[in-house]
Amino acid sequence: MDNQLILAANQSREIIEYDDDAHLSPEPKVTEIVLNENSSLELYVLQNVNNEASIRREFKIRQLADSRLKIVVITFNGGDIRNTYRVDLDGEGAETQVYGLYLIDKTQHVENYLKVNHNVPNCTSNEKFKGVLDEEASGVFNGHVYVAPNAQKTNAYQNNSNIILTPKAKINSQPFLEIYADDVKCSHGTSTGQLDQEAMFYMRQRGISKANARILLMYAFAAEVSNHIGNEMLHEHIDDMIKRRLRGELSSCETCVLRCSHPKEYNFDIDYSKI
């Protein structure tokens, strides 16, 4: 167990972390989270490592009654990344939101495995994962929502959408619902496509260059995930990183914020006193 986070009843926390300790050996880093009654956690994870590095990340979450969880994981860069989420909704009235964004290129590979267990009635889960895959990047999305026989009045939504920019980029997307209760609202969906050519022409007809139109569209796509970042300063900062990433300015180690292969001092505009 790498770290454990237990929120007492009625506690509320916001945590921001960087998965920047690039593992060269794929040892999983496990975070176990327990949210007691009516507690609330917002967890923001940023992943930005070089193309040779791997990340293996596991989140094991147990939520008790009326607890609220929001996780947003933003993957900017990394050679081989696998995130695994397991959420057990064990108390009525619990709400969970899991959002993921991956913007990858070259031969990068990102996998997201998600299992949400609605073990009791009256819980809500919402998962949205979005990705832009360029060049020869590849990804896997595997989402599984389980609704137990007694878990009536469950609301469960799951969505994965991807933009594939080249013929060589690929994604394997498998959303899956397993429902044993009969009074539930559940949906899942997946979509994979190219940039909307109608929208591209519309923008270019207004004088916007092809390159800028692409970035605007990709940014709008990505913002559907980043807009869930509740911390305003972090939101602004991540949005800025998304824009730079989409312009191709974040991919190399020179502009990377991390010290993985070139140890050096760096400044990051996040006010840690507020965390």
Partner: protein, 248 residues
């Protein structure tokens, strides 16, 4: 001459749609292009604006003294060509403000001008919105998302007012409009019209031409302009339909 199209042949996926079209438009003029469905009216708009997939196999499109065949859509736009889309595209996540600001500043960059200040831009937005009676705050609305047909068309005319084109092509701007929206759209066009710009109004019905009065009416059939006349030609078409055109 602002626009001079000579013997234009355009194919889509190997199928010839325009078959030798000629059209000349001077500054200050309003031209209406009418004709039955499937005769190439929208293809003409696509060819002038440089849409991909419309292959120009023969002929020339002269605009401001340059043959623009091969020029990118954005360069044509920044040279002052504007298309009011028949089906304006929804762009979720891109606010109208951000979209228009990017467009206005792209044109300024093309002209070698510095970006417009936020204050000036906001002022211009407000002014142009008023022109087409858009009263709501557009700052946080996404481009065309959740708009009714009429709102989308008003929004097209708003964008046209923001970009102040020299040549505006209105592709079936009247389709799906009720009479109030039609008046607003026409009023916007009439306010923007001056001696230095020109409008090409593609329409199926004469109705719009009651409000936007054309100097010339052209009738298209089978990829060509088969008849040209004054505004009375539109009335004649309204009365007699398009059947007789096919005999020409």
């Amino acid at each position: 001459m602002l626009l001079n199209i000579k013997n234009l042949h355009v194919s889509i996926g190997g199928k010839e749609i325009l078959k030798g079209l000629n059209l000349g438009v001077n500054e200050g003029e309003i031209h209406a292009i009418m004709g039955p469905n499937g005769t190439g009216k929208s293809t003409l708009a696509a060819a002038i604006t440089g849409r991909e997939g419309y292959e120009i196999t023969e002929g020339e499109i002269w605009y401001k003294g340059k043959n623009i065949v091969g020029m990118s859509p954005e360069d044509r736009a920044n040279e002052g060509i504007f298309l009011s889309f028949q089906y304006p595209v929804e762009i979720p996540g891109v606010s109208i403000q951000n979209f228009m600001r990017t467009a206005v500043n792209s044109k300024r960059e093309y002209q070698g001008l510095p970006p417009m200040s936020t204050i000036d831009f906001m002022k211009m937005m407000k002014e142009k919105q008023a022109m087409v009676e858009i009263t709501e705050k557009l700052q946080n609305r996404f481009v065309n998302v959740g708009y009714s047909g009429g709102e989308k068309k008003k929004n097209e005319i708003f964008q046209m007012a923001m970009l102040e084109p020299n040549l505006a092509i209105l592709d079936e701007t009247d389709s799906g409009l009720d009479i109030d929206a039609l008046r607003i759209v026409a009023h916007g066009v009439n306010q923007l019209h001056n001696s230095e710009n020109a409008f090409v109004v593609i329409t199926h019905y004469q109705r719009l031409l009651d409000y936007i009065v054309p100097d010339f009416v052209h009738v298209m059939y089978d990829g060509r302009i088969v008849k040209t006349g004054g505004k009375t030609l539109a009335l004649e078409l309204e009365e007699k339909g398009y059947e007789w055109i096919k005999e020409l």
